[in-house]
Symmetry: C3
Subunit: 155 residues, 3 copies
């Protein structure tokens, strides 16, 4: 039976799929003590396509970036589910690291990252409010528009 | 009464102001166990203006970047004060993450970040010596010249 | 007597040298609780030369980038040895943060970072499998091609 957090996600139309394992010598997450560290997730949708491809400020709109950041957050939650079995075991979303594929004159990364932040709060309520760092990067894997990594406190 | 660390800052002419809360679903800091994670702070001065705007290597000098990095560090310390009430509760500055808004041919990010590192050691002494990662990014929020985030061990 | 992990590295032809202390107010690593945080290491070889200089996608090949990332990982392990005395005290490689000096149209950062990830698994086996975040940055210190930082769980 799905826990409370997954029920909230379902109500938003979000189902979590098992993430594909990374095709290299790293993994999607590592738990150390009560911390769960999640690898950078790019904005793939469950069908394996990028939600937004290219640079903000050079072809990708803020609105598309927000959707991409939300997609990164969904992929993060899929890793957390795989790690913990149940998202209700999350005690706190500690931190999101947001990387926006940016033209040199794009300055609205925080608006883009709100797509990820808002999903965390929609899923976890007050426990979803997190520290955050947002920067604009020169490029991202596969030319994804957004990549987000995360740290959680788990019980 | 201000603690020892704040007295040192006062002697340097630095007063910490309550940071404005982020205008979105994230927060300035999260504590988990004995770790305090501080969100990325851009180089705003207390009057709400950027200390340096634009790119290092394309209009912003190293000296201006140093002042900006120092301003980021002040903003980090304001978050720590809000979190802990007293900077003397910091057991160790664990890590700074430094992001310098850089032209592709600007390679002196570490000199810039010293503005933040030096302030940490001025405030905390040996406990202020930290691990650090410095990179040059394509853009930063509001075209700030520098952004720094941080991790502290607290008692 | 060298521990098991160092023996594996020796068999790969890798000897760890004492890293030079940073020439500023930061340090190569900080331990907090069971976490060891290692500063960003650029791709210097033990003779003080960059293994690869410049940008991926603009002069530096993926193969050169892989060698550079491996060199960053060697430098990380040298810091860990200095911190712990013995690499066998590593309980888990928790996370690598990979920063690839990238042209705006270079999208193969993950292939580059495998140079670091593969070395961690060669050294530590299953304990070497880590969470990872890879991004392409606008510039790096000294125009290094790759910089990697790390978090370890230590016993």
């Amino acid at each position: 039976m799905a826990g409370t957090v997954e029920q909230k996600l379902s109500a938003l139309g979000i189902e979590l799929h098992d993430p594909r394992a990374p095709a290299a010598n790293y993994v999607g997450f590592v738990r150390t003590g009560n911390l769960l560290i999640v690898s950078g997730q790019v904005c793939y949708s469950p069908d394996g396509k990028l939600i937004a491809k290219g640079k903000l400020g050079a072809g990708v709109s803020v609105e598309q970036g927000v959707a991409a950041a939300r997609g990164c957050a969904v992929n993060i939650l899929a890793q957390v589910k795989l790690a913990l079995g149940d998202l209700d075991k999350v005690a706190r979303v500690v931190r999101l690291g947001g990387f926006v594929n940016s033209a040199p004159d794009f300055f609205e990364g925080p608006k883009v990252l709100n797509g990820a932040s808002d999903l965390m709060v929609a899923a976890f309520g007050e426990k979803g409010r997190h520290a955050r760092t947002t920067v604009g990067v020169a490029s991202l894997p596969s030319d994804a528009a957004v990549e987000v990594d995360a740290m959680f406190e788990v019980s």
